[in-house]
């Protein structure tokens, strides 16, 4: 384990930024935090988490895929993919680091999505333990330990120091680059911090939320539950939950005609939207009840069925904080899962 004094953190950032774009959570004027490209003077936010998840780094909200030039009856397809440069995402929380594994299982499964894969291979993830988990956090429900975040490098921050431990070869290389600014240390202080974090976790209101009612093979049991109608009754279909969710990965592909060429791009989409499944011959999910059910059944049943039991939720709590009608996956799990989830 390596450590350095927090006074030197800015020097570390400057060193990293020499060969790679560095992104970190920074405070915004409205009091929230957002990932920002580091430049001299940018300070690492102390906020628990960013409003938007870091999925944008690998799966951007909109992304150009290719271009077309058309002339008369002819079409030219132009591959616009370019070689990417390395970048570092610094200060990713444990829940969000886990979300990358969930996205990987979608985009890196054959046939590999080369757009995602390229970003993923160029990104270095430096995670950060959560010293102040909040009442909307339920990562432990999904076996994520906020005191032991994964990533290429794990980091822990105390009042005065920051500690680093490499988990991958990429992480080793990263720590070697900043070795002149850090010193070897033991993990006594980090161990104390981990204990403190776990004590907070034990007091959080969602600590007993459990998943035993869900998982692969539960479709027939849960699909026709009468509770879906009640839960979805107030859903506005705004899609906010999908957009702030670090694991929601449904996308649309659209064309934009600039006047002299056509750009085909993909953008985030939401199964909560009424036209998501609408096609020329009809729509197989006609009401919000069916669309609402799809989102939660996918996260809690379908995804685990296809991915060795892994749930497609990391308990980051963003949907709890942002849904305009205060509906969220926790309420769904409690209601649909019955007493088992209490």
């Amino acid at each position: 384990m390596r450590k350095c004094s927090l006074d030197k953190l800015n020097l570390i950032f400057a060193e990293i930024a020499k060969d790679a774009a560095l992104y970190l959570p920074a405070d915004q004027t409205d009091g929230s935090a957002a990932y920002k490209k580091w430049e001299e003077g940018t300070a690492l936010s102390d906020a628990l988490n960013t409003v938007r998840s870091p999925k944008d780094f690998f799966f951007p909200q909109t992304e150009d895929l290719m271009k077309f030039k058309t002339q008369g009856k002819n079409i030219d397809i132009i591959d616009i993919r370019t070689a990417l440069e390395d970048f570092v995402i610094f200060g990713v929380r444990a829940c969000d680091v886990k979300s990358f594994d969930i996205l990987d299982r979608v985009f890196l499964t054959e046939p590999v999505d080369s757009f995602y894969a390229s970003r993923r291979s160029h990104g270095i993830i430096v995670s950060m333990a959560c010293t102040r988990p909040s009442e909307t956090c339920f990562c432990k429900t999904f076996s994520i330990d906020p005191a032991n975040p994964a990533g290429d490098v794990s980091a822990w921050k105390s009042e005065t120091e920051i500690f680093f431990e490499a988990n991958t070869q990429k992480g080793e290389d990263f720590l070697n680059k900043i070795s002149s600014l850090t010193e070897e240390c033991d993990d006594t202080l980090v161990a104390t911090q981990k204990e403190a974090i776990n004590k907070i976790m034990d007091k959080l209101p969602l600590k007993n939320l459990d998943t035993s009612a869900f998982g692969g093979g539960k479709t027939n049991e849960l699909f026709d539950s009468p509770a879906w109608a009640e839960l979805s009754q107030s859903c506005l279909g705004c899609g906010t939950c999908t957009f702030v969710c670090p694991t929601c990965q449904c996308y649309d592909i659209k064309d934009f005609n600039t006047g002299n060429e056509v750009i085909r791009f993909r953008c985030w989409d939401s199964c909560m939207y009424s036209d998501f499944t609408k096609m020329a011959h009809g729509n197989n999910r006609l009401t919000q009840k069916e669309r609402f059910r799809q989102r939660f059944m996918h996260k809690l049943v379908y995804y685990p069925e296809n991915n060795d039991g892994l749930f497609s939720c990391v308990g980051c709590g963003r949907c709890l904080a942002k849904c305009p009608i205060s509906m969220n996956i926790v309420k769904v799990m409690k209601k649909i899962g019955g007493n088992k989830s209490e």
Partner: protein, 277 residues
């Protein structure tokens, strides 16, 4: 980076022939600009066709894999992309990518069996590929029965091919029907599900169904009534798709993705899925 193939990036295709099949269905012949087939496929698989600036949509490949010169797509005019295609002329370039999905099990499950194909309307499009594949390798299969129905005589797809080729093959029986009586039609009149029951096939065969959802439902019920087991009945689904490879989430039903786990499903497998297709 540019040498990495991505499934989302299509090839250019050229429409080399447009056949008007019915008042709202045309069959498009497509090759690459150098005159070759865009890719190989198996019966039941699909391709994404697009017109830049208009959109991209999934279509079943209606020509048989045994056709080594070109691919054909029978397309009903019913939305943005299909409207545009119906206005396209020979020589028009489009984009094409694929093949997508699981094909009909023509080389294992179907081998050596008697086959019953049942189609309604444009539902013949995906079945034509497998019918012509089985006709090509005629000695690998038993007796072939084809039941095909549409609204009227004018709505029967591939009519010339059915009359001139399918009906004249030995061991192939074609049973055509139209919904309502029509002048100049002396064949059967009535809906497909009822006709199938009237014909009363022996059940020791594999049945393949495709058509409007309501026709599939009633025909499947009819087949079960005359003693067919759902494990011997196959169908092919159609849902909205964007990627074709199980990532965009659109055609997800239960734990399956119609684009990659389907579009061909055995009816007993289909029964396991939530009723959302």
């Amino acid at each position: 980076m540019n040498n990495v193939n991505d499934t989302l990036i299509p090839k250019v295709g050229v429409i080399t022939d447009v056949r008007i099949d019915t008042p709202d269905i045309k069959t498009f012949r497509v090759v690459t600009p150098d005159g070759k087939k865009a890719f190989d496929h198996m019966p039941g698989q699909c391709a994404m066709l697009s017109i830049p600036g208009v959109g991209e949509a999934m279509f079943s490949i209606t020509s048989s894999p045994t056709n080594e010169e070109y691919m054909e797509f029978s397309i009903k005019k019913c939305g943005c992309v299909t409207d545009w295609l119906h206005n396209a002329e020979v020589g028009q370039q489009i984009t094409i990518r694929g093949p997508y999905g699981k094909p009909f099990p023509v080389d294992d499950v179907f081998a050596g069996k008697d086959l019953l194909f049942i189609a309604g309307g444009v539902g013949l499009a995906p079945l034509r590929s497998v019918i012509n594949y089985c006709r090509h390798y005629r000695d690998r299969y038993g007796k072939i029965d084809i039941v095909y129905g549409s609204r009227s005589k004018d709505d029967l797809l591939d009519y010339q091919e059915i009359i001139n080729e399918w009906s004249t093959d030995s061991g192939v029986n074609v049973h055509l029907t139209i919904d309502n009586p029509q002048e100049g039609w002396d064949g059967h009149v009535g809906f497909v599900p009822t006709y199938v029951k009237e014909l009363g096939f022996d059940t020791n065969k594999v049945a393949v169904l495709c058509g409007p959802p309501i026709m599939i439902k009633f025909t499947l019920d009819g087949l079960c009534e005359i003693g067919f087991d759902k494990t011997n009945v196959y169908t092919t689904l159609e849902l909205r798709m964007k990627c074709g490879v199980g990532k965009c989430g659109r055609c997800n039903v239960g734990a399956k993705y119609v684009c990659k786990d389907g579009p061909v499903f055995r009816c007993d497998e289909l029964e396991e899925l939530p009723d959302e297709y």
